[in-house]
């Protein structure tokens, strides 16, 4: 299912977040977290260094708690496959302010590049749609990412899901902060929530 002219993952995330405004961004374990760090550190970023399979559900809890803010989950195909049931839960809850973007390199880049199910048979857009997220699509150009970035600001028309086939090149790791308590406390602080 590989295609020519695949997008660069860093360019995709940079473009998605270039004008992020107040958006809260959750990045899944692995390369997605490095992509989010590479796009620029931000108090409203949640970098995951574990909890594989949980990115979409963290996004859902955040989206339900903050319905006026755009909540964006950026994750990889492997992380999404592990949490596939969460698409059914999102499909049932239909949070209008939740956007999910999967960076699909058809491989587990963090563990040595083993091929993932999306390389051969699994269609995540089909899964998302079948789980009750009708606004689910494949994205293949930066122009579409720019349009998607505008859409993600609309907190009245979600949830939406996009899968973007990206170049499989392993890029230099850009390490975000990995102290979970710091990241969490900073994000809560940005939303006006004091420590206990």
């Amino acid at each position: 299912m590989s295609k020519a002219n695949l997008l660069d993952r860093r360019q995709v995330v940079n473009t998605l977040l270039a004008d992020r405004k107040d958006a809260l961004v959750v990045a899944g374990l692995g390369a997605s977290t490095y992509d989010l760090a590479a796009a620029g550190d931000h108090a409203r970023n949640l970098y995951l260094w574990g909890a594989m399979g949980g990115a979409v559900m963290i996004g859902l809890g955040l989206a339900l708690a903050q319905p006026k803010l755009p909540v964006v989950v950026v994750t990889g195909d492997g992380e999404m496959l592990m949490g596939m049931g969460s698409l059914a839960t999102v499909g049932l809850q239909k949070p209008k302010n939740l956007t999910i973007l999967v960076l699909d390199n058809e491989a587990y880049g963090e563990t040595g590049g083993q091929v993932s199910h999306t390389s051969a048979s699994a269609d995540l857009v089909g899964v998302a749609r079948a789980c009750g997220i009708p606004d689910s699509k494949e994205i293949s150009t930066l122009g579409e990412i720019e349009a998607f970035a505008k859409l993600m600001q609309d907190v009245t028309s979600g949830p939406r899901f996009a899968n973007v086939k990206i170049d499989g090149a392993n890029l230099e790791r850009v390490l975000s902060n990995r102290d979970g308590m710091f990241i969490m406390t900073r994000l809560r602080g940005a939303l006006g929530h004091a420590p206990i």
């Binding site: 809260l24 574990g50 339900l64 708690a65 839960t89 206990i196």
Partner: protein
């Protein structure tokens, strides 16, 4: 033999629900469960709560972490058989110091009919403790209110991830009469 209704002289689910309200819990994540049936219905009926049905229990651990990040309190309703599903996701609570209030209906510990429930029921408390979650237990209907209040308080006032085990003896009492 005729199976009568379960004996619930004290309506413990109502006490649990009241404590959830008092603790200002908003997001209630659950995997459908007979023992939690009445509580789930109460949560769905409360417009101040958002009851969310999950496909598997670890989804709830992650969702409630997101809720806390966003400034809302949550509770996870599950059966002991689902506790094992949560283990890796509980890293969120330890590493990010995110509170958890898990209400667990126990199986496999009191007159169980289904042997498949016994392994996870036997290890539920140990699994939680090894995962950094404090465990409280309620066995008698009359103590549910106090134990639930203590669990919610330490979860949210002390930011301490807590599981309340609701004994099978509490939830499963049935009377058989001719």
């Amino acid at each position: 033999m005729v199976e009568s209704a379960p004996v619930m002289s004290v309506s413990w689910p109502a006490h649990v629900f009241h404590e959830l309200q008092t603790a200002r819990v908003v997001q209630v994540a659950y995997v459908p469960d007979a023992g939690h049936g009445a509580l789930i219905d109460l949560c769905h009926a409360d417009t101040a709560m958002r009851a969310v049905s999950l496909t598997t229990e670890e989804e709830g651990v992650a969702m409630l972490a997101g809720a806390w990040l966003g400034g809302q309190r949550g509770a996870l309703l599950l059966q002991s058989s689902g506790v094992g599903n949560c283990i890796n996701m509980l890293a969120l609570n330890q590493e990010c110091r995110i509170p958890l209030l898990a209400l667990v209906t126990m199986r496999g510990e009191w007159g169980e009919f289904n042997p498949w429930q016994v392994p996870m029921g036997s290890s539920t408390q140990g699994v939680f403790e090894l995962s950094g979650i404090r465990v409280l237990r309620a066995t008698e209907p009359a103590e549910v209110k106090d134990v639930m209040e203590a669990a919610a308080s330490q979860a949210y006032n002390a930011c301490t991830p807590t599981a309340l085990l609701l004994s099978q003896r509490l939830i499963g009492t049935k009377v058989f009469v001719k």
